[in-house]
């Protein structure tokens, strides 16, 4: 590989306000090197590298993925306001670099489980944008046939989409344990927020996973607010990467997709090589409220949100990196924008038009094929509906 490099810009390395990383070098091979913010380490002697490289193909792919998630969420928000989506709906806008960066470092046999802010993850783990939006509108093409809704989305190796704050984390340890038991060298990423970080069960499984050397990557996506309470008002220790105590931890700039990818690579290497669990804190930000019923402006200022959008936005940052380093042209970026918009628009159209599942499915998939539950009572006065199983579970 041609490794002759030269500096193309002389930006201040520490000026991370405008773009979260600074271009330092460029390879002729179209691999470009960037400097990330420093990682903070807990119980680790060495951490991930801060000078990271990315090639054109990957960079454009991350850009496309992040933009798709942003647009998917914009469509979700709009359809929610139109009452096409009912119930709960938690948007990921602002946090895209976390999911996209992590996914980029995972291998096909690694597993992921997260909480209810799961639309983007589901798409990244292999579900189409249309199947995510259809799930949100409760229609038959949804990933869970419209039965789960916004919080319960699934895909291969993606165990959901869980509605209870913090409850998915112990499951992640169980899933990671299974990989170890089967000897696959797979790891499980168990995600939670800064609010859930105070749930007792998370400390239970920090202990269990360390005790048993379970290959799990705990990821605290710290977007600054647990619902409407800022991190410092809810947590005695807001250094979330240290809260596993005996579990090594890394603070990561969660607004920089390349920093996330680099940290995740490091964590995968750690967990998959028998060193047990590791904890990543992704410092990130959510632009929307906690859910659609939270305007998100009563506990923080509009200026604060605006400032993050202008100075630290993960998508804008990557775009600037791509353009200033010459990896792609403005026209190429524009083309991606158009394609993503088209895909999301088509998916939105589909989500609006698809039929919902029939009322019979109310009683489907409560149990596995079951002689004891042929009829489910009390669904219609004086009538019983048959219990059925719809398809075959992926995990069995």
């Amino acid at each position: 590989m041609l490794r002759k490099c030269f500096t193309i810009q002389s930006q201040n390395l520490f000026n991370n306000l405008k773009v979260s990383s600074t271009v330092t070098k460029k390879y002729f091979s179209s691999e470009v090197q960037f400097e990330t913010k420093d990682f903070k380490l807990h119980k680790l002697n060495d951490g991930p590298k801060t000078n990271v490289t990315v090639n054109r193909e990957d960079a454009l792919n991350y850009y496309r993925q992040m933009l798709s998630v942003r647009r998917l969420e914009a469509a979700s928000g709009a359809m929610y306001k139109e009452k096409q989506i009912r119930g709960f709906c938690h948007l990921y806008s602002g946090q895209e670099a976390c999911a996209v960066g992590m996914k980029a470092a995972l291998r096909p046999h690694d597993d992921v489980i997260t909480a209810y802010r799961c639309h983007g993850w589901t798409y990244l783990m292999g579900a189409s944008i249309a199947s995510v939006l259809c799930e949100l509108t409760g229609h038959i093409e949804g990933v869970s046939r419209g039965k789960g809704g916004s919080m319960h989305l699934y895909a291969p190796n993606f165990y959901g989409g869980n509605g209870i704050v913090g409850a998915q984390v112990p499951l992640g340890v169980g899933i990671g344990f299974a990989s170890k038991y089967k000897g696959t060298d797979g790891i499980c990423v168990a995600l939670y927020g800064d609010g859930a970080a105070n749930q007792g069960q998370i400390f239970e499984v920090y202990n269990m996973s360390k005790l048993w050397g379970t290959p799990v990557i705990f990821v605290c996506e710290n977007n600054g607010y647990g619902m409407g309470t800022s991190a410092e008002r809810a947590s005695a220790n807001i250094e979330y990467y240290t809260r596993g105590d005996f579990i090594p931890g890394i603070w990561v700039d969660g607004m920089d997709v390349l920093a996330v990818r680099e940290a995740t690579r490091f964590a995968v290497d750690h967990a998959a090589n028998g060193k047990g669990p590791i904890l990543l804190e992704m410092a990130t930000y959510r632009y929307s409220g906690h859910s659609m019923s939270d305007p998100g402006t009563s506990y923080r200022s509009r200026d604060e949100i605006q400032e993050v959008r202008q100075t630290r936005d993960p998508i804008t940052s990557l775009k600037e990196k791509i353009l200033t380093s010459g990896m792609a042209t403005e026209a190429e970026i524009k083309a991606i924008d158009t394609e993503v918009k088209k895909e999301v628009d088509e998916a939105t159209k589909k989500a609006r038009s698809d039929p919902g599942i029939k009322v019979e499915e109310l009683t489907y998939d409560i149990y596995a094929n079951d002689e004891n539950l042929k009829l489910v009572r009390n669904v219609i006065p004086n009538a019983e509906l048959p219990h059925k199983r719809f398809n075959t579970a992926r995990n069995l």
Binding site: P170, G172, W212, Y364
Partner: protein, 368 residues
């Protein structure tokens, strides 16, 4: 005060029933081995209930190498000895101790089961299951439904010793079956002795739904039967008719079955009343057909359980029975249950739906 009394128990003159219930070490039931055995060929051997459970888990671990068994003190055999020697036999990576963290245990077990492996999680006492309630009710029970059957944790089995033991008090004697019976997606099972325990546990482990098996802890040692050595399963969701009769239907589960059996014998001898005794076995789903067929025949039904009266599973049975058998009923459906108090320490003998209270209920229902 009771403590002082029992200290001088030997000095007390017998004063009938009162003295009996003060004698705290006297069991409130007499165990009767199962006459109704499964049709399993081959060798049988004498086992108490914890050995039968041990035997079932032994088979489960031997037949499927994805089977894991874990819980507090499980590697050492468990506080009730159910997992004795299994760690030595199958290794510490398959049979292991967990820290004291029920929510973590349940969540971890659901995760293991979600990958398709068979997870047998022991909650040391059913009274300790409540930190895991969220995981069981919100995660385990709904996994299949909310994913449109893309994922589930059907290979999860949770075992928990439950029920009165004579001196367990508030946090070692409760019967939480009704809480879980309120949750579609779960199966809840209670064995009455070693043969059922082995067959039901194996059925639960192999069942494709998350199952909770509540083991009456007072039967672990006191219940002894000739148990088939081979593997067999008892059908889930099926009640057992243990005695036939035309006058009164008695419904119970777990230890209470043995109380009711004794009461039924006494009613036959003293009142010439023939009771039909049903062990419900499975709380969720429950065998409505067997129960209602019996009530249609007898017209009188008594339900007895150790859990408190209000919203105990007896309430669900009573509501369903009156729905199906209203014109057959000769008397109001009776419930003999624990009182609506926390499970009391000093008053445990008063609290239980014992043979005297059940016998009174029979007298009353036949005179109605």
């Amino acid at each position: 005060m009771i403590g002082t009394l029992s200290k001088f128990k030997s000095a007390l003159r017998p004063i009938g029933h009162v003295n009996k219930i003060l004698a705290r070490n006297v069991s409130h039931f007499t165990y009767q081995p199962d006459e109704k055995s499964p049709n399993v060929d081959g060798e049988r051997t004498k086992m108490n209930m914890f050995t039968a459970i041990n035997n079932a888990m032994d088979i489960a671990l031997a037949t499927d190498d994805s089977t894991l068994l874990f819980g507090e003190d499980v590697a050492f055999g468990g506080v009730f000895r159910c997992s004795l020697n299994l760690k030595d036999k199958y290794g510490a990576d398959r049979v292991f101790n967990t820290p004291l963290c029920e929510q973590g245990i349940a969540g971890f077990a659901i995760g293991v089961a979600a990958t398709g492996a068979k997870a047998i999680a022991e909650i040391q006492f059913a009274d300790y299951i409540f930190p895991a309630f969220d995981q069981i009710v919100n995660e385990a029970a709904k996994y299949r439904y909310r994913s449109g059957n893309m994922f589930d944790c059907g290979s999860l089995t949770i075992r928990a010793p439950f029920g009165a033991v004579g001196h367990g008090a508030l946090y070692h004697s409760q019967s939480p079956e009704a809480y879980f019976a309120h949750t579609p997606g779960l199966k809840v099972i209670v064995p009455r002795g070693p043969i059922k325990a082995k067959g039901l546990l194996l059925a639960a482990i192999n069942d494709k739904n998350p199952c909770i098996i509540l083991e009456p802890k007072t039967l672990y040692r006191s219940a002894v039967e000739e148990v088939p050595v081979a593997s067999y399963e008892c059908e889930l969701g099926k009640a057992d008719v243990l005695m036939n009769g035309n006058d009164v239907t008695l419904i119970g589960w777990g230890t209470q079955v043995h109380v009711l059996r004794e009461v039924a014998e006494r009613a036959k001898n003293e009142l010439k009343v023939k009771c039909e005794l049903i062990d419900l076995v499975s709380i969720l789903p429950w065998d409505r057909e067997t129960v209602c067929n019996s009530v249609k025949k007898t017209g009188r039904v008594i339900i007895a359980h150790e859990a408190p009266l209000t919203n105990g599973f007896g309430a669900e049975l009573a509501a369903s029975i009156q729905e199906d058998c209203f014109l057959h009923l000769e008397a109001p459906i009776a419930r003999v249950c624990g009182w609506d108090t926390p499970f009391p320490h000093v008053f445990e003998p008063f609290y239980l739906p014992d043979r005297l209270r059940c016998f009174e209920a029979i007298k009353k229902i036949v005179k109605y």
